[in-house]
Amino acid sequence: MHAAELLQFVIAGLKNGSIYALVALGFTIVYAATGIINFAQGEFYMLGGMVSVFVLGALKVPLAVAIAGGVALTVVVGALVERLALRPRRDAGQLTLIIITIGVSLLLRSVARHAFGANELSLPAFSPGPSVMFMGAAIERQALWVWAITAVSVVGLWLVYEKTSFGRAMKACSISHEAARLMGIDTARVVALAFALAAGLGAIAGAAVTPLTSTAFDVGARIGLKGFAAAILGGLGDFRAAVAGGLALGLVESLSVAYISSTYKDAIALVVLLAVLFLRPQGLFGRMAKEKV
């Protein structure tokens, strides 16, 4: 196994890893504001791709405009989901909200099948052209786009959360909605913005990955599972942890293909995840929630 080959495995791992990371970021945004896992995050990812393809086909507009349209529509869907399905039960237990997102994901999956058909759809690459060679290993241009989007997203989110009042309000909500309300924070608006942001990021991820993998009405479930695993591996609640978790998951998968077997790559990645959880129950970078007696 000489260097170029190993590098190719690492690049493959980082390519998948950055896709998982983007989905994990979507989970983390909603978790950070509400403490729940949004099972419809995979569907936001799917809608991003599907709607962009639809806009591109229907309106014959340039790719960038089509994707902007796809992302915008998914953001609207995200806000609607929060407003109609989640806000009425805002004070119910976390479990009730999680099950509502499960219902939403089933609904969105089925509506997408009716609206866009059952077959897979594809998008042209953002910047067509041959792969970029890097020390003997090839990187698709679209993969570079996905990495760029991941980097911009994590830096952007970090800035929003650390430097803006909206970010502080989001953090306050994640600690305690009651306390945040007492501080005059309109928690409903914060949660709505969180869902819109998560939907937008999911849609961007979906649109950026569709040229690589094409998309279909049912891609949400598998990619949602990978994103959730990545968010947990990194440690819930922290953006940098989500990206680290995603990249780590991608690398473990590609290295297990390289050194062990491709048949069991998913099983090996899950065993690694379970081992990490056993040693660090709060994920690689999460903080242990100390239960004060």
């Binding site: 495995f9 896709i19 594809s122 990955v209 094409s214 279909a216 049912d218 990619i223 293909v257």
Partner: protein, 402 residues
């Protein structure tokens, strides 16, 4: 704590109520039937069941199958039906799940009194309904390609797609003829992928073709570069891809990425005979080689022959009705319905399951879309290598490979 008892009591009352409500009305449930064709004829229609995967992961296969069936029911009924009686196909969705397939089969047999069942779309669904159907003596004509359907023989079950043992043998001959003797396998973990992989491994050595690498992936995976890198290191002349889903296009692009000059040929299977593969893979589809039936290029039936007329008439009607050309799955559905219809003509519309089964088994030289069907008590697949041709993708469409 024994409040749980109270909940249970109140719930029990409600439960009993709902059961009786369902019971009282279950005498005459009308259900969706694809009759089409002329107004309610005097003669009662012959009911044929169809179990398709309209939802779930095989939705992409079930949809064209349903379209083909609706189109053909109309044609058969317009041409006088079977022995004077019109046919009615009752469609049930198994959502790509064995449990729902069994329930659908029971409903079709018990409620709709169907004489035969077309389906299921997937190998799992087909295997699940065999018990139920053979117990009731209702013959099954499956559109799923799994070899197990006819390898573990069941007198009551027939198959319309080309069996993998025929496809693999035919493709291996082509590869050997073109000097390709070192191949790698890249198969997915679904029924289609595993079945193709196992048959290829069984036949490759005998055909003088060596398997130098054997990698797998899961449906829904976003990238197969790692597997293809390992494959490339083994230096194969070709990679044989076993996957009928959207991942095939991704694999083609991944391979082109690490083998820009296309020194390694990409070989596929009938499941890749879909336009979505070409649009998804883009120029990475160039040179993609796979064996499939002649439907993809009707000219391959031989202009002017009976097969050609049947194929082009189906393609034209399908295009006018749905705006797109039929894919191989639509072809499998067409064949299944035609086989059952022709058997009904021979056995007579009033034939019971056993007589119909024997009539189906007696199908000789029936010209369909997948090929010319000849069943026998030992061969419930009816197709052979002469119903296959090797295609090669060039400039965005299929071309007969040299």
């Amino acid at each position: 704590m024994h409040r749980a008892w109270k909940d249970m009591a109140a719930m029990a009352a409600a439960g009993a109520l709902s059961i009786t409500m369902v019971l009282s009305g279950c005498a005459s449930p009308a259900n969706q039937a694809a009759t089409g064709g002329s107004a309610k004829p005097a003669v009662a229609p012959v009911k044929i069941g169809a179990i398709l995967s309209l939802t779930g992961s095989y939705a992409g296969l079930g949809a064209p199958e349903k379209r083909a069936i609706e189109l053909e029911v109309k044609r058969i009924n317009d041409a006088g039906g079977v022995g004077g009686a019109p046919i009615e196909v009752v469609v049930e969705d198994d959502a790509t799940d064995a449990q729902k397939a069994v329930a659908a089969a029971t409903k079709l047999i018990e409620k709709d009194r169907v004489v035969a069942i077309i389906g299921a779309t997937g190998t799992g669904g087909t295997m699940a309904i065999r018990n139920e159907a053979s117990r009731a003596g209702v013959p099954i004509v499956s559109m799923a390609g799994g070899s197990v359907i006819t390898d573990t023989f069941d007198a009551n079950t027939f198959q319309t797609p080309w069996p993998n043992r025929v496809v693999v043998a035919f493709t291996l001959k082509y590869l050997k003829a073109n000097g390709i003797t070192r191949i790698a396998l890249l198969s997915d973990s679904s029924g289609y992928g595993k079945d193709g992989h196992d048959v290829t491994v069984k036949q490759a050595a005998a055909a003088g073709v060596a398997i130098v690498a054997d990698e797998t992936f899961n449906p829904g995976d976003t990238d197969m570069t790692a597997q293809l890198t390992k494959i490339k290191a083994a230096g194969p002349q070709a990679v044989w891809l076993w996957n009928a889903g959207k991942e095939a296009a991704t694999a083609a692009k991944n391979l082109r990425q690490i083998d820009p000059s296309a020194t390694i040929r990409l070989v596929g299977a009938p499941g890749n005979g879909r336009m979505e593969f070409i649009t998804g893979a883009g120029d990475a589809a160039e040179g993609f080689t796979f064996a499939a039936g002649k439907i993809l290029l009707p000219a391959t039936y031989g202009a002017g022959t009976e097969e050609y007329k049947v194929a082009t008439s189906f393609v034209d009607r399908f295009k006018t009705a749905y705006g797109v050309a039929p894919d191989i799955f639509a072809g499998h559905a067409y064949d299944a319905l035609t086989i059952v219809a022709e058997a009904l003509k021979k056995a007579g519309p009033g034939a019971d399951g056993a007589k119909l089964r024997t009539a189906i088994e007696g199908t000789k030289g029936l010209i369909g879309i997948g090929g010319t069907f000849t069943y026998s008590p030992t061969d419930h697949n009816g197709l052979s290598e002469k119903d296959l041709v090797v295609y090669r993708v060039s400039k965005g469409t299929w071309e007969l490979a040299k």
